[in-house]
């Protein structure tokens, strides 16, 4: 999710954010800057940190300067990502930068709030003693006493305006985290600006598995085209750097296959987990994704439990007859309906292996020979 989207959520929950808005046309920058009526900051909206260091954040004292800065940033590429949206907002007077986030601690099986009075760009280098970690018991939730104690531990006086505001912000942030099914809500920096406390930045990550009940949230595609195509098929696909295309049924066995290829000196072009119970048609579509990678060889590793070997083999037959394979293919096929599957493969000249290791070794050899 882009910074401006996170800030829109913050604003809806009453968490203070700078005045301003997002634009997709740099020509609007002057208008927004004039609306604000104060010095402005123009921030590129890309899904990457390090925007400041890449020149993707600029300041402007006048609408004319804002227009010039917007023109400059718009169309830049930051870490391979094109800048297509800008956030124009008031330049804050920053007296102090703090850090605050809530995420999930898998080991503790509960949310954890992380806060520091030393926020800003170098938060990762801040000494452990200045980082406050507070686990939140899901049955208790974020009670006011927990919020007050976090602020006390940050070293901010509870009696002052900043302390009172921070106690509210801690509770609001937790409310957003819970209500929006977030995996992460982060404010860095959270700034003291005179008596106010304002979220100068936002990073919000929503749990993909909860999108079905968070339909009003803006969704930002972070996957490559192939990864997205796979997701639409119910498959899990990740692009990698090597030249051997890989498909297996299950995340663990797919990783095991990648590791075995590496052991024999090969490198995977991708990670493709086709899950359990994938049928003929979905398997054929998955094979098309592999072919599209233009690999030097291909390895399919199926340990069929729910997955039926004959269905997998029929998918091979379909592809062989339609688009055809563009590289040597190695398949390890064991499990349910193994014999039927292997007979089908034999009819199109593909030999099936019993063990993952021998199949992987063969795939590496074939890739090396295919130059």
């Amino acid at each position: 999710m882009f910074e401006y989207m996170g800030k829109e959520i913050f604003a809806k929950f009453g968490l203070p954010v700078p005045q301003g808005r997002m634009i997709t046309d740099p020509a609007e920058a002057a208008t927004v800057a004039a609306e604000i009526g104060k010095p402005a900051v123009i921030k590129s909206q890309v899904l990457s940190g390090k925007r400041g260091k890449a020149g993707g954040i600029k300041f402007a004292d006048t609408p004319e300067q804002a227009a010039a800065a917007a023109k400059e940033i718009f169309g830049m590429t930051i870490q391979g990502l094109p800048v297509e949206r800008l956030l124009v907002e008031e330049k804050l007077k920053i007296d102090k930068e703090l850090y605050m986030s809530i995420t999930i601690d898998g080991a503790a099986k509960m949310p954890v709030l992380i806060a520091s009075a030393h926020g800003g760009m170098d938060i990762e280098e801040v000494d452990e003693e200045f980082i406050i970690k507070q686990h939140i018991d899901p049955e208790l939730g974020m009670q006011p006493f927990i919020a007050r104690d976090v602020v006390r531990r940050m070293g901010i006086p509870l009696s002052g305006p900043h302390g009172k505001e921070l106690v509210k912000i801690v509770q609001t942030l937790y409310k957003i985290f819970i209500q929006k099914d977030a995996e992460l809500v982060e404010i860095n920096p959270l700034v003291f600006s005179d008596d106010k406390v304002i979220a100068a930045d936002s990073k919000v990550t929503i749990d993909d598995d909860a999108l079905f009940r968070q339909k009003d949230l803006p969704y930002v595609e972070e996957r490559s085209a192939t990864e997205k195509a796979a997701k639409d098929l119910g498959l899990s696909f990740v692009d990698l750097e090597g030249n051997i295309a890989v498909m297996a049924n299950g995340a663990g066995i797919t990783m095991g296959t990648l590791d075995t290829l590496q052991y024999y000196g090969g490198a995977a072009a991708n990670f493709l987990d086709c899950g359990g119970g994938t049928g003929r048609e979905a398997t054929a579509k998955a094979l098309e994704l592999l072919i599209a990678k233009n690999p030097k060889s291909m390895i399919i590793n199926i340990f069929g439990g729910i997955t039926r070997c004959d269905q997998v083999a029929l998918a091979f037959k379909d592809i062989n007859e339609s688009v055809g394979f563009n590289c040597p293919v190695v398949i390890r096929l064991v499990g349910t309906n193994q014999d039927e599957g292997r007979a089908i493969l034999a009819s199109i000249g593909i030999e099936a292996f019993d063990f993952m290791a021998e199949a992987a070794e063969k795939a590496v050899k074939l890739a090396a020979a295919n130059v």
Binding site: T260, D273, I306
Partner: protein, 289 residues
């Protein structure tokens, strides 16, 4: 003996009338699991594979002793189903469903802790006490009785390793799937403690993967165990920062790396297999076979 489930465990299937529920009810019955009841709200009175279906877990509990339940309910309703089982006092709840929202997982796990229930999953293949009882979805034929306890995060990789063990003449006491998600009900240490106390189990295989710190934490306990442990960690070749299917399988900021996990396990006295098929050899070596 075995751990968590055995030949006397009475099992309830939640979502029994659905496609997965019906299919796996048959598979589990074929394995010899004592499935005594199912649930499917609104379909009470139906019979699936000869097993009576009830409208709620409480209704099933009024008619049968239920020791364990297995959840085949779609992700949106999984939290409700798991909470229903826990609330009715079911001691072991196996949640097979994948794609469960992580906030739901947190609530389920917290409630289970309060009520003293064991939750396996979400996103688990289940649990098998070989030759006695299977709850979940693994293929039946590779699980035979024997001295090796297996605990894992990942499903098919476990079948792979269990298949290798069985082919080498090493059966299993119990094979436990903790689930592949970031928040699951059971930890490696919970299961290792049970294996340490189980007379049938002579050695333990721990199947981990990159990401998180579960294997590192488990290593602390392994140091104190009397039984030999063999580990395998998937994801050696995974590039940092890439998600590999399981929510757990991601390396974040240098934590949870392959190397760190292997070092922790080795320092704790475990042997670590480089590849899945090396596991049986290492077990035999450590058992002096």
């Amino acid at each position: 003996m075995a751990i968590i489930i055995n030949e006397n465990t009475n099992v309830l299937v939640m979502g029994m009338t659905g496609k997965q529920g019906t299919f796996h009810t048959k598979q589990m019955l074929d394995y010899g699991t004592k499935i005594v009841a199912g649930t499917s709200p609104g379909k009470g009175g139906a019979i699936v594979e000869g097993v009576p279906v009830y409208n709620s877990v409480r209704e099933a509990c009024e008619n049968h002793r239920i020791d364990a339940s297995v959840v085949f309910v779609p992700a949106g309703g999984t939290k409700d189903a798991a909470l229903e089982s826990i609330d009715a006092g079911v001691g072991v709840v196996v949640v097979v469903t994948e794609g469960v929202p992580v906030h739901d997982e947190i609530q389920m796990v917290a409630y289970a802790k309060r009520k003293g229930a064991i939750v396996l999953g979400p996103n688990t293949f289940g649990i098998v006490s070989s030759g006695k009882c299977k709850i979940g979805i693994p293929p039946n034929k590779y699980f035979v009785e024997g001295p090796v306890g297996v605990v894992a995060r990942s499903g098919t990789l476990t079948y792979e390793i269990v298949g290798n063990l069985t082919a080498s003449g090493l059966g299993q006491s119990t094979v436990v799937g903790m689930g592949g998600d970031r928040v699951v009900g059971t930890t490696f240490i919970d299961v290792l403690k049970m294996f340490e106390e189980d007379p049938l189990t002579k050695a333990v295989v721990l199947i981990g993967e990159i990401g998180g710190n579960a294997e590192e934490t488990a290593s602390e306990y392994i140091k104190t165990m009397s039984k030999p442990v063999v580990g395998y960690i998937a994801g050696k070749s995974a590039p940092p920062g890439k998600r590999m299917g399981h929510a757990g399988a991601i390396i974040e900021r240098g934590k949870g790396t392959f190397q760190g996990k292997v070092e922790a396990l080795t320092a704790a006295g475990a042997k670590v297999a480089t590849l899945p098929f090396e596991v049986p050899g290492l077990i035999k070596e450590m058992l002096g076979m």
